[in-house]
């Protein structure tokens, strides 16, 4: 398994909680696009041996790009990389820019999965976090997507938002389940330093639900999703059978991926070494270096075997079915339960971890306290 991630760092407006690299000024779009194409062409000869099973075009808001751009991007990807005919190809879309025309363009170019940023079905909550769409916009965009041919659609929703209650969160979940979406990602809001929301909260202008309220919300919401037939397959991700996101599963299986675009991250086995690197997070540098024929790569590091093993556990335990022992053994020549015997035993005794013949995975409590569980593995 291997995936490609393409970052589109533009939005109509930046949301108040967002700390991803993205710009509300789209004047750089043309230059960026040229640079992105040359980046793909630079990688093309290096990636000949690999087959890619997933593509994820994220952002930012990929659907803000001019009509035709995403189709051109898809063409270029297929020209430069060996993308499997069965590949899962996802594009992130926000309701305000997901026009019927663009959605048709996407579907026609082979995109087969759409990830829609809904966040909340309450207009008051949406405006509190600086989203520029309404519940109605979302419904309209979804209808357009379906008309265009999309069936595999995800909605991102959030809990722990300013002004949100357990009831309003359930209302959001009710909406997406009733609409029959096969995939739901429900993230707890993380207040990131440097964001406007963080400043508002620090200054007392905005109040967030306290952690206990948010925990109550989450527990009730996740129970509701289970009751509606959605399987929690990762800490924040739910799907109907067969609709788990393969691109993200590849991350959690600690698989290979190539990141393209500004500040994108890559993990590849290069001449036997597990290697991670990322692109610059400065738009000007990205454009300039690619213009000069250089890859704008930063922070290349070889991951030692111990660290690679820990990463596999850290990522694998995000999934509810955890780390597959045989796969781990194939990769590292050692069984993970043996490798991490003291940590595993302690967590098992504590009711946080379950070990079976095939796998080790975290219980509900283990998932709730995943950080503490991982620190145990890390300390060992």
């Amino acid at each position: 398994m291997a995936g490609i991630y393409v970052h589109i760092p533009f939005c109509k407006r930046k949301c108040r909680y967002c700390d991803f690299i993205s710009f509300a000024d789209t004047s750089g779009e043309d230059l960026y696009f040229v640079a992105l194409i040359s980046e793909m062409r630079r990688y093309a000869p290096l990636m000949r041996e690999r087959e890619f099973d997933t593509v994820f075009i994220g952002g930012g808001t990929p659907t803000v790009l001019q009509q035709g751009r995403l189709a051109a991007l898809m063409d270029e990807l297929r020209r430069d990389f060996n993308i499997s005919p069965e590949a899962e190809i996802t594009v992130e879309a926000n309701p305000e820019s997901a026009s019927e025309e663009k959605l048709r363009e996407l579907f026609a170019s082979g995109v087969n999965r759409l990830s829609m940023g809904l966040q909340s079905a309450s207009d008051a909550e949406l405006s509190a976090i600086g989203r520029i769409h309404t519940r109605e916009d979302f419904l309209r965009a979804l209808e357009a997507a379906r008309k265009a041919g999309f069936t595999n659609v995800n909605a991102d929703v959030m809990h722990g938002l300013p002004g949100q209650t357990g009831e309003s969160y359930l209302e959001t979940l009710r909406l997406v389940t009733e609409l029959g979406l096969p995939h739901i990602s429900s993230y707890a809001l993380i207040l990131e330093e440097g964001t406007p929301l963080h400043a508002d909260v620090e200054a007392g202008r905005v109040t967030l639900p306290d952690p206990d309220e948010t925990a109550d919300m989450e527990d009730a919401g996740f129970a509701f999703l289970a009751q509606k037939g959605y399987e929690r397959y990762e800490i924040s991700n739910f799907s109907k059978p067969g609709f788990a996101c393969r691109h993200n599963l590849n991350y959690w299986d600690n698989g290979e991926y190539l990141g393209l675009g500004l500040n994108s991250h890559s993990a590849l086995r290069i001449r036997g070494d597990w290697t991670r690197f990322n692109n610059t997070d400065r738009l000007a540098e990205y454009v300039r270096e690619l213009g000069e024929g250089k890859l704008p790569v930063r922070d290349t590091r070889r991951i030692e075997r111990d660290e690679e093993m820990f990463e596999s556990v850290m990522l694998g335990l995000r999934k509810t079915d955890g780390v597959e022992r045989a796969a781990f053994h194939r990769r590292f020549g050692v069984d993970p339960v043996e490798q991490y015997a003291p940590a595993a035993a302690e967590l098992e005794a504590d009711g946080m971890l379950v070990v079976t013949e095939e796998r080790m995975y975290l219980t509900k409590r283990g998932l709730d306290f995943q950080n503490e569980a991982l620190i145990k593995f890390m300390e060992q």
Partner: protein, 600 residues
């Protein structure tokens, strides 16, 4: 060839913190070309970082300057810089004893403060000639007339013709030099008499060992002499004598009236005690100079490495620190909560804080410090007496007949408008009102008899905040007094945390127990289970708080393929955990032990 004694002047500068002592010293060195302009670092005498940052002097230093006065003669001026804090009163008194005169610097914007007064009295005790100087007259808020007034009224020194200067700009500083030459008497003493050299400070040098900073009162000392420390009786061979210009400069001899250092390959400053008299083994003086006393630690606390693995590093750091400061005591102790560490004794609270800061900065250690304690006298049922400096070692109340605590006389100087709230503070701190006098219209002196254990916590902070920084404070140690003291313990999830135990007066135990429990509730992070926090006297619970259980501890977000960011967050959390101490089942952050020191 010895410098003519009648042309030597030995003097000190007395000033309150921030009144400009070090700046004046710098200016004097500049005017006498002791330090070249380009070498001039601001406040050259205060060489330790901490001293510079806090604007105070911890160690005495000395510097020799040459000055050609208006009378055309060249004088040798030895400036002995003194520590400026109540904790170091004894060091100050010895430094002053090495001088014939003192320059009293008074800030024209502030007037006289309690500590200035205390040092003036020390100077008068040593029969020093005092030259008042009004500083900071360049500031808009300067009121030199008032400062003159205060010097005359409060101290009783004529100050009408006191130099009015700005040490910062250099204005009129030359007048100070002239007054030093004209007013301060030349040293007396016979260069041929048996040697008597007063140690007013000592310093540890990595290459030369412990150096004694001395004022030669009688006689002469040269390299090769065998010297004897009259109080300890230990003898050493002198390898070098020298003066400060202000860097060390070896000379052939130091003779009566001069100030300098003696090096004799001594391993620790514990051998070169401030106040001791050095004489020659071959021709000893009959009597040592008077005034020697052992400086005893007054305030004790437990010092532990934040990371238990650093115990050895902490031990080495303390060994080195004590090489330079013999007034610190330390011995190993063990705490259930904090593991292996040391019980350390200090002259006072500031001394303690400075030592902690030096350990952390100069030795790059992360420390956990327990609440400071004084030494309690515990009279047991059988009449025997135990001195207790660690609350954990207090015997069971069943075995105790009575307890006594050390008292101090606290002198507070303040503008009259703050008297009310300061008296309230002293009352809260179990102070017994002794006296209130108007030193002059705008300055009141309050005297209270207070338990030392009330002063070592947050008395100084309270005083400053209640007087908007205008009140100043000084104390001297008194007798032990019987007191109704109890040991206040704290339990976390049912387990006693020895590092949090304190000894308090029974009347204050409830309030303190509640306050600390509340503070702990704030600083102990929520854990997977609910944590009851209890304050107890004996077996009796007097306050209770609860840290609710945390519900989730997980990174919800994906961060795309940015695994590193996720890992960094985990690393950070792990580091935070490493700084936690395990008390029974409860993880307590290291700084919790210190944050409970600062309540209210």
């Amino acid at each position: 060839m010895a410098f003519p004694k009648e042309l030597i002047r030995n003097f000190s500068i007395i000033a309150h913190i921030d009144h400009g002592k070090s700046t004046l010293a710098d200016r004097l060195m500049q005017l006498t070309q002791t330090v070249a302009e380009r070498d001039m670092e601001e406040q050259l005498l205060d060489s330790m970082d901490i001293e510079r940052e806090r604007g105070i002097t911890i160690k005495s230093t000395a510097v020799r300057m040459f000055y050609t006065a208006k009378d055309g003669r060249e004088y040798m001026l030895n400036l002995i810089d003194t520590p400026g804090h109540v904790d170091f009163t004894y060091e100050v008194s010895r430094a002053l004893a090495a001088c014939e005169g003192a320059v009293l610097v008074v800030d024209a914007t502030q007037g006289i403060e309690a500590q200035t007064l205390a040092n003036v009295y020390l100077a008068l005790d040593n029969d020093l000639e005092i030259i008042p100087v009004i500083n900071k007259i360049d500031l808009v808020s300067a009121d030199p007339e008032n400062a003159i007034h205060e010097i005359e009224d409060i101290i009783g020194l004529p100050a009408e013709d006191a130099p009015q200067i700005s040490a910062k700009t250099g204005l009129n500083v030359q007048d100070v030099l002239e007054r030093i030459v004209s007013d301060i008497p030349a040293p007396k003493g016979d260069p041929d008499a048996p040697l008597k050299a007063l140690i007013f400070d000592s310093l540890y040098d990595n290459y030369m060992g412990a150096l004694s900073y001395v004022r030669v009162v009688e006689g002469t000392v040269r390299p090769g002499d065998r010297i004897r420390f009259m109080h300890s009786g230990n003898e050493f061979d002198v390898t070098e004598v020298g003066v400060f210009d202000p860097r060390r400069l070896p000379v052939k001899e130091l003779t009566a009236g001069e100030v300098g250092y003696i090096s004799a390959s001594i391993k620790s400053v514990a051998e070169t005690k401030v106040g001791d008299t050095i004489t020659l083994a071959s021709n000893p003086a009959k009597e040592p100079l008077h005034g020697y006393k052992q400086a005893n630690p007054m305030v004790f606390c437990g010092i532990y490495p934040a990371d238990g693995a650093d115990y050895e590093a902490l031990k080495e750091a303390l060994d080195k620190l004590v090489l330079n400061d013999a007034s610190i005591s330390y011995e190993p102790e063990t705490s259930q909560a904090l593991g292996y560490g040391f019980r350390c004794g200090f002259l006072g609270l500031l001394h303690m804080e400075i030592a902690e800061e030096r350990l952390e900065r100069e030795f790059d250690l992360d420390l956990v410090t327990t609440a400071p304690s004084v030494i309690y006298r515990v009279i047991m049922l059988d009449g025997s007496v135990r001195m207790i400096d660690n609350p954990s070692n207090l015997p069971s109340p069943m075995e105790i007949q009575r307890m006594e605590e050390p008292m101090v006389s606290a002198h507070i100087m303040t503008p009259p408008e703050y008297v009310g709230s300061i008296m309230e503070l002293c009352q809260e701190k179990r102070g017994l009102f002794i006296d209130m006098t108007y030193l002059e219209e705008n300055r009141v002196k309050l005297t209270y008899r207070m338990p030392l254990n009330e002063i070592i916590f947050d008395f100084f902070d309270g005083l400053k905040s209640r007087s908007r920084g205008y009140a100043s404070f000084d104390y001297e140690l008194g007798e032990y007094e019987e007191s109704d003291l109890v040991k206040l313990d704290f339990l976390l999830n049912g387990d006693m945390c020895d590092a949090l135990s304190t000894i308090v007066h029974r009347d204050k135990a409830y309030a303190k127990g509640r306050a600390v429990a509340e503070k702990l509730q704030e600083v102990i992070p929520r854990q997977q289970f609910e944590i009851p926090i209890q304050a107890a006297i004996g077996g009796k619970i007097i306050a209770r708080e609860t840290v609710r259980a945390v519900r989730k501890d997980v990174l919800a977000k994906c961060y795309g393929g940015d695994i590193t960011r996720k890992k960094k967050l985990l690393e950070k959390q792990k580091e935070g955990k490493k700084r936690m101490r395990q008390v029974g089942t409860v993880s307590v952050p290291s700084d919790a032990f210190m944050s409970v020191l600062r309540i209210n």
